[in-house]
Subunit: 326 residues, 2 copies
């Protein structure tokens, strides 16, 4: 099934969306918000699924036209957002750009960071920045939402706690990163609010593309209307979504509604393009001595979308413009 | 006024607690949860204050005996937990212990990390660890809770967004920190759930001790029943609570209910003792070549409390024991 949150107050209003993203049904009688559904997933999921089945069968007279622009993030604010770096090709390139070495342990010990989750952007919300010199970049990723995960949960068991899958634009302020990471405590200022796809879907909606707890489809990215990349999100993902959850659970439990991101999707095959500007800029630097692609500026646009094998949008698209404010 | 959350479901039940911590009143008619109160603070605060005034005047026939052990964290789960390192004496000592240098920028650019906020411990909840070799440490701190803070808010304006003040035990797994920080993305595994004082108070409850957005009182710490430290939380705080909030707001807004911590309280005067084991271990290493104080082990206890100038507990005490699980 496919779920979304209509913009409404601080936590949105939960809806069930049809598989083809054309219609939706309100489900306040089952759960008022996405968080409420996740808090009691064993009870709410079967009821939501029944609504979804009826909606997809054209049996809901209360179905309304679905508008992705009316959506908040699936979780407009969340209790946890942790992002991995599961595509080591990206990690290698971005570290090269910072002249930082790639430790061998990165191939066995997942790199993750704790992000802010008090402000999650809807798919059509602007990227608000105060200074273009901060070097605004997109990072197109896949993220999962868990229910409660006990401390010490293995990767094999973590798989069963992946309740929803969605897309993310993990916005990065590249020029603030070297100083901030140099301080040693991770990202704080350099990772402002991330944006999420209009719709989050259960893994079964992904059919054969969801294998080994990875999503084996290209993630398509456009910048200012031009195709920028379509690397495959499954092929070169060193750590699966279940691996990332199990890593987190080594020392602590995860609360329902925890969002765990994959990190920027990246393939070695450069003809597939990129999911962030930093990678292209790094390759330009390697080839020409300096980058020629600028970071995002006021008015620039980003689009991120994933299509199923029939060519239909799975999650709806993230479409954001950059807005410079005083 | 003084507020707390009784253990109840995932988000607790908001109560108003008397100044002397002897009684409380339920206030579900004003706001069901602490988060709900913070979401609409302009409307809820005057109503909660009226209840508080009546309770302190002995005019509430519905007052019940207050038991700190019945409390969850003031926010049992939160949308944001960011912790500073505002006491540079602590930063210097802990970095010495890791053989890490102290950059001069640390005196002007606050060091902060984004913590997990999906699981906040109540004041009497155990510290649950899976391995004693991880090197469990306490970190006694002061934290504030904000309402909504706009992007770009100055320190002067941030002061007005400090709605509540409380104590924290920011539990650290010291032996996991070098590897994790070495990876460059900050704390993930090495900072499991933090515990909070039973009660959160508005700054006016702190009377003259709240000056320059700092809390000028000693924070008292006991380990296994023995006095461990009582450094003053105001004197050597390089960055005020308002400075820390303004730092965060440079690139992003903060949602209501954001918790911002001070970092481990630390004074240069060693006779005042310590708020974490790592500092004492560092001094032992400097003086004797190696540390003699062990990290916390199964069954060890920690108590953290702050008294007002009349010697009365302001926030109630954090009292935790370490529990080793399989």
């Amino acid at each position: 099934m496919k779920l979304a949150s209509l913009k409404h107050g601080r936590d949105g209003r939960l809806i069930v969306v049809s598989r083809d993203l054309s219609h939706y049904v309100e489900v306040a009688g089952i759960a008022a918000t996405m968080q409420a559904a996740l808090d009691d997933w064993q009870a709410t999921a079967p009821q939501l699924r029944a609504v979804s089945d009826e909606l997809n069968a054209g049996q809901r007279s209360d179905a309304q036209a679905f508008d992705p622009a009316a959506c908040a993030a699936p979780l407009p604010r969340a209790y946890q957002w942790v992002d991995g770096s599961a595509y080591l090709n990206h990690v290698e390139l971005v570290r090269k750009a910072r002249n930082a070495e790639m430790p061998p342990s990165f191939y066995t010990d997942p790199l993750m960071y704790q992000g802010g989750s008090d402000d999650m952007l809807g798919a059509r919300d602007p990227i608000t920045i105060r200074d273009e010199a901060w070097g605004t970049d997109l990072e197109a990723e896949v993220a999962v939402i868990t229910d409660d995960v006990a401390i010490g949960t293995s990767a094999a068991d973590a798989a069963g706690h992946i309740r929803l899958v969605m897309l993310v634009n993990d916005v990065s302020l590249r020029n603030l990163i070297p100083n901030e990471l140099g301080k040693g405590f991770g990202f704080v200022l350099s990772k402002p609010a991330s944006a999420f796809s209009p719709v989050a879907v259960t893994p079964d909606e992904l059919e054969g593309a969801w294998r080994d707890n990875r999503l084996h489809l290209p993630l398509r990215v456009w910048v200012n209307g031009e195709r920028f990349g379509e690397p495959n999100a499954g092929e070169e993902m060193t750590f699966s979504h279940a691996d990332l959850i199990a890593h987190l659970a080594r020392t602590r439990k995860l609360g329902a509604g925890s969002i765990v991101g994959s990190g920027t999707i990246s393939n070695k095959d450069r003809s597939r393009g990129f999911c962030c500007l930093a990678e292209l800029r790094m390759i330009e630097t390697i080839e020409h001595g300096q980058p020629s692609t600028p970071f995002l500026r006021h008015g620039d646009t980003v689009k991120i979308e994933m299509l199923d094998i029939a060519g239909k949008s799975i999650f709806g698209s993230i479409q954001q413009s950059v807005q410079l404010i005083k």
